[in-house]
């Protein structure tokens, strides 16, 4: 019989103060910027100055988020580390490429090259924890985190590992965000202030962050939720989403009416938010609906922030006003569905229960 997968510890570094807080009580929506920066923790409490001097912020955030998750789960080591990232260590990639151009392909220094690979975060976490087990990084656009989560869930189900650290991490790089602005992927300054729920312009407010989770095969006092299922669909038309969702729920012996809340990935892009809007105004009209990218910003692994949020809700049974889409409430929150997509591609469904 396959093992169940429990979230026993969480850690989140984001564009909100999500460390040293209870649950988004200090959250603030920033309508006036189109690229949001993380609220940095005190890195020195987690990483020695000698180790941190070569690390870009994404690596440091991943290390701190994973340390928070492990402390929360009260574990000192894990069997595997699985990371999802859309752009990897883009800051050091930019630095290295700029150095190639500036120095006419001469005088290349090793540090930024070493730190520029996508698997740097997972590798540095493993080095610090002396974890010599399975270490894998998924780079699959907006389903990078879900790919990591699915791998972790299958490994626990198949008894390949008892405990796994899984996370999603992305950082903003100045040059990359300038290209995203040129390409229209980031909202234009003229279209600010932004309104994620009722967008009337294209592009998104970009963000960055790192969210890590300790998954284990046994329920503990620290357990937040059980991960019932994760499904990835690379391509779905707007009119196919509801049916795909119903089939996903059915395969878990559930119907839409069984859901106590749904977390939708509204990102304020008027070109593709209709995917969420259709569900919000029809299938989920009687379900408590939540959103998060107005707090976290949009980035490839922002859905890891959503999992952090849903885990907190299941444990605390509280939903902060700042994440509510509608006013529907339930007496208890036992089953939550997360749905995310990016520009009509890379759809993911993640199902949690208390």
């Amino acid at each position: 019989m396959s093992k169940k997968t429990y979230i026993n510890g969480v850690g989140c570094i984001s564009t909100q103060k999500t460390f040293d807080t209870v649950f988004l009580e200090e959250a603030v929506v920033n309508h006036n910027e189109n690229v949001l920066a993380i609220v940095p923790p005190a890195y020195k409490e987690y990483i020695s100055p000698a180790a941190s001097r070569r690390m870009a912020k994404g690596v440091k955030n991943g290390i701190v988020a994973s340390a928070l998750a492990m402390k929360d789960a009260n574990v000192e080591n894990v069997d595997a580390i699985i990371t999802g990232t859309g752009l990897g260590c883009i800051e050091d990639s930019e630095k290295f490429l700029k150095s190639i151009l500036d120095n006419n392909e001469e005088f290349l220094t090793p540090t930024s090259f070493i730190q520029s690979t996508h698997n740097t975060v997972g590798a540095q976490i493993a080095l610090l924890q002396q974890c010599k087990g399975y270490n894998f990084t998924y780079v699959n656009g907006a389903v990078s985190f879900e790919s990591a989560l699915l791998d972790a869930k299958m490994q626990i189900e198949e008894n390949e590992a008892n405990s796994i650290l899984v996370g999603g991490v992305d950082e903003n790089g100045d040059y990359t965000t300038s290209l995203f602005k040129l390409a229209g992927r980031i909202k234009k300054e003229n279209d600010l202030p932004s309104n994620v729920l009722n967008a009337n312009s294209t592009g998104v407010v970009y963000g960055e962050g790192a969210s890590f989770f300790v998954l284990e095969n046994e329920k503990k006092d620290s357990t937040y939720a059980e991960i019932l299922d994760v499904e990835i669909k690379n391509s779905l038309e707007e009119n196919e989403v509801e049916e795909a969702l119903i089939l996903f729920l059915k395969s878990n012996h559930l119907e839409i009416t069984d859901l106590d809340a749904v977390v939708l990935g509204f990102d304020g892009n008027s070109d593709s938010d209709s995917y969420y809007r259709n569900l919000s105004e029809n299938a989920f009209v009687k379900t408590p609906q939540l959103y998060y990218k107005h707090l976290s910003g949009a980035y490839d692994t922002a859905s890891a922030f959503a999992l952090w949020m849903a885990s907190k809700i299941l444990k605390t049974q509280e939903i902060p006003e700042i994440i509510k889409v509608n006013s529907v409430v339930k007496p208890t929150y036992n089953t939550i569905l997360l749905y995310n997509q990016l520009n009509g591609k890379n759809h993911s469904f993640t199902l949690l229960s208390k």
Binding site: R54, E106, F107, L108, P110
Partner: protein, 85 residues
């Protein structure tokens, strides 16, 4: 020579991201590796690039590095004697 030593200290702090160290914390004869500043092999590569890029010195014999990079004093002496720019 004193100006060069000061320059080297600043370059090392900036290039190697030694966030908690100031120029005054590095004595001219402090060992750069091991017990002194605690630099490692990746830093050694960065120092070789500084010599090449900023002073026009190409180290052809890696064994030379050990004596050249012993301290700020030894680095400055070697640069003064061999710099091409």
């Amino acid at each position: 020579m004193e100006a060069l030593k000061e320059e080297l200290k600043n370059k090392i702090i900036t290039t190697l991201n030694l966030e908690d160290i100031a120029v005054e914390d590095i004595a001219d004869n402090d060992p750069l590796f091991g017990d002194g500043l605690g630099l490692d092999s990746i830093d050694a590569l960065e120092l070789i690039v500084i010599l090449d890029k900023d002073y026009g010195i190409k180290l052809v014999d890696p064994k030379e590095g050990k004596s050249i990079f012993q301290s700020i004093e030894t680095m400055a002496s070697y640069i003064s004697a061999n710099r091409t720019k």
